[in-house]
Symmetry: C2
């Protein structure tokens, strides 16, 4: 090989590399910026409410740059861009949807995870990381009262966590070689899934993606509290069996997305045992509250499920992304997903068996999302989590009482850390029906203004056709003063919107 | 409410919170540790080769701690644990499987992403983050020559990226309402997927998970270079059509996992147009090399595909996890995944439409994986990537030549940045068949010792029954001296193992 070629690589030109001094300098600068940002977070708006075109104009529509740019300037400008134009889940007054504040140790954990950058798809590529994930799964199982010898893994979030449980259930219960012939079995089109209408849309996506189709879902009605009616569940299963359908899976929700209610899991578990069905508990939001000594028995009954989905990026306050599936029978989980192609040789190291995580789920290459979860569990222990989760719930209860006592607010529900309520102006003169239509319109507009204004952030739910405001407190930064401020904010916006919507405005 | 209650939350006890000074101190300490680690990385072994029981003993088998622990000590001990017992993809001599070294700016990017912690499932929860993902997708499309008005999103990795393309293809080509009735259509069991035997196992997982079953895959034979035989593809499609089957998707691989070869994508694209089939290009590894001016025409033909999977955590050197799917018709991608439940209100902000990423893929909550990719693209620009990718390829070519010239090595293949070769002792006296069996045994043992020894790290491939060593260079830290060292390392281990395996040893 000629000398010019040697020159090209022997001291290779790699513009992405940073020398140690540069990395140290940029890292320290970023830590200072992040620390300042976190300190000032409560004084910032939750979000700026800027329009898409405004945000896009900040980035520009330029094509991929041909030449690079200075990393120091780039990081400084990017940090400022993000600090000034983001919505912050970590803000003390963020209570929208179900995304938690990110634990600072989780932020540092993600930094360290990206440094090591192990591929946790295979043990020999990630020895400590795989074992940390294994320990994390065990600790999570322990925390929610699930058998610690279960199978399990971390995934991207609630949808994926539920998908893994769903697929394990299909594999276990189909009764034919579902991996080889899929839904081509004559029975396959008769597979039936049971879920309440309050189930999160993951169930639609699952039935659709995995080839059953959403028509395979039997939507079971809920009671006044939006809990699944188990009498109707049983009747539907009986009915389906009579007509030759093949029930295989019941979803029970532990903490629904709308109101935080938990389905009657004790009864669902019983029915699943009776009919030999797979019991999947969607505890993406609520499962972790099962760690509380006074958790209700239906929540604790997720320990009876064949599979459980739960999200460390919700009630373990991990930064996104961290979902988790637990499956009672580890072998079923592995048999649902394992392939061993000729180019992999992963099953043992030094004669000992290893845990090869790509055999337990859909992913092949996998990142080290366990680190942030494991660090937080170690930092505060079970007692720390019990305290924070329990206080989130108490704050939501407090909000319910404040709304209930306020003459212009109507409280609807409080389950776990979700409270729903709406603004109702005094002296509304319409008929009942007109009134409901108007209140929906009014509260929709209130929510839009609240969300865009950035003073606080809640989302919405629909309860029996009523559009309600919904605060979900999965936020260790929220304190009582934050909660006490909300009713006044809502009522202030409500009065303005109500005045504007009046015909003679 | 009573005073004791007030005391509980007004200054809330939240052990996961860190005050600014503590965060700053811990952050600076961690930056220093990471900088020192990165500086010393070339002197460390690639991996320690420790046994699972050894690694487990480092963690202990203790249950979830009841009480927490000091964050400063915890972070220090955890960093040391990871530095001392991990495998490092970022090591200059790591060339196993396909995982890249992590760009330092990507490490800092993940730190910043976890700080902001936006949920990039919905635009209003992640205004800048959603737009950064949108721009990243556009830039990636531009880089590989794909239409920039395509749909696309970032996902966890290559499996998921391929799954999204697969599902879009099924939705587009099934010809019935696949989302509602799934594989229950009478035609469903006749759906046929075409892929070569060199296709990565994602195709098995996809066919199986999505309810077609692996029996739906038609494995098309490959030529001597392990490229799909398109005559056989066409013949199989004709045959299937004749017997009433329903071909719908052809997978062409751009950079195979074993040898890095690219299927004849020009011809596959033509066949897909002729038969109205979905053309999915699996470019998880190779697609980004299409940015090179001298890329082969079959690689560039991924621009003809209906969907493309590619991995920024491979040849954009992003830390895990970052996969990406591009779909030519953005509407098809959205229609494949979109649900709009009553509790979401995401479609517009201030009267302008927004991009709501949970409607474009399987996930609902989504992290900000775009940041690390976008920062790296900005830091080095297209020219920087062309240089690094091109040098990776040249180094692999150099390795091929070194192996080819070495009397005790046999070179097999060089495609993109993957080179395969094996150790062959001089003067082997067995018959041909015995010899091949012995060489497989010998090279298997060489690989085990190499991987556990930590001097360098390659993986393996099977080529026509032959077990070969496989170096895949997706590593901007590798220079010519690293590559030049490999043949001597292999031959040294090879001689030892060969001597041990001799009958009179």
């Amino acid at each position: 090989m000629d000398d010019s070629k040697k020159e090209t690589y022997s001291d290779r030109f790699a513009p992405l590399e940073m020398n140690t001094d540069a990395f140290r300098e940029l890292g320290h600068e970023l830590v200072d910026r992040v620390a300042d940002f976190l300190a000032a977070l409560p004084e910032r708006p939750v979000t700026t409410g800027e329009s898409p075109s405004k945000i896009r104009s900040l980035l520009g529509e330029s094509p991929l740059p041909q030449q690079g740019t200075d990393a120091k300037t780039l990081l400084k400008e990017t940090a400022n861009l993000l600090f000034d134009h983001s919505l912050f889940n970590g803000h003390p007054k963020f209570w929208g949807y179900i995304t938690s504040s990110a634990a600072p140790i989780g932020i540092l954990g993600d930094f360290l995870a990206a440094t090591i950058n192990p591929n946790v798809g295979a043990w020999n590529l990630s020895p400590v990381a795989s074992e940390i994930e294994r320990q994390t799964i065990k600790w999570i199982a322990e925390m929610v009262g699930y058998p610690v010898d279960c199978g399990g893994l971390l995934v991207s979030g609630g949808n994926m966590a539920n998908f893994v449980g769903f697929l394990a259930g299909r594999y276990a219960k189909a009764g034919w070689d579902v991996r080889a012939i899929g839904q081509s079995s004559p029975e396959a089109k008769r597979l039936r899934v049971y879920a309440s209408a309050e189930t999160h849309t993951w169930i639609n996506k699952a039935a659709d993606m995995f080839g059953l189709g959403t028509d395979s879902i039997r939507w079971i009605q809920t009671d006044a509290d939006l809990r699944m009616e188990t009498d109707l569940l049983k009747a539907q299963i009986d009915n389906d069996l009579k007509s030759g359908d093949k029930p295989f899976l019941v979803v029970g929700t532990a903490g629904s997305v709308s109101t935080g209610v938990t389905d009657p899991l004790v009864e669902i578990a019983k029915i699943c045992r009776e009919y030999d069905l797979w019991f999947h508990a969607d505890g993406a939001y609520g499962a972790l509250a099962a760690c509380l000594p006074d958790a209700e028995s239906d929540l604790k009954a997720l320990s009876e499920a064949d599979s459980v989905a739960l999200d460390p990026h919700k009630w373990l306050y991990a930064p996104l992304e961290a979902g988790c599936t637990l499956v009672r029978d580890s072998k079923i989980l592995r048999d649902t997903f394992s392939y061993q192609p000729p180019y992999y040789k992963f099953d043992e190291v030094g004669g000992e068996p290893t845990i090869v995580y790509n055999e337990y789920g859909p992913q092949n290459s996998r990142g080290f999302r366990a680190l942030k979860v494991w660090l937080a569990l170690k930092q505060v222990g079970r007692s720390g989590y019990e305290r924070m989760i329990s206080d989130d719930i108490k704050l939501a209860q407090e909000l319910y009482q404040l709304a209930d006592q306020h003459p212009e607010l109507q409280a609807f529900s409080h389950h776990l850390s979700i409270t729903t309520f709406r603004y109702v102006p005094e002296a509304l003169k319409q008929t009942h029906e007109e009134r409901e239509t108007y209140l929906n319109q009014l509260n929709t507009e209130i929510l839009t203004r609240l969300q865009e204004g950035g003073e606080a952030f809640v989302s919405n739910a629909m309860i029996a056709g009523k559009y309600v405001l919904r605060a979900c407190i999965v936020n260790f930064r929220t304190n009582l003063r934050d909660i006490e401020a909300l009713p006044e904010i809502i009522v202030r916006i409500g009065r303005i919107v109500h005045a504007e919507l009046q015909p003679n405005h």
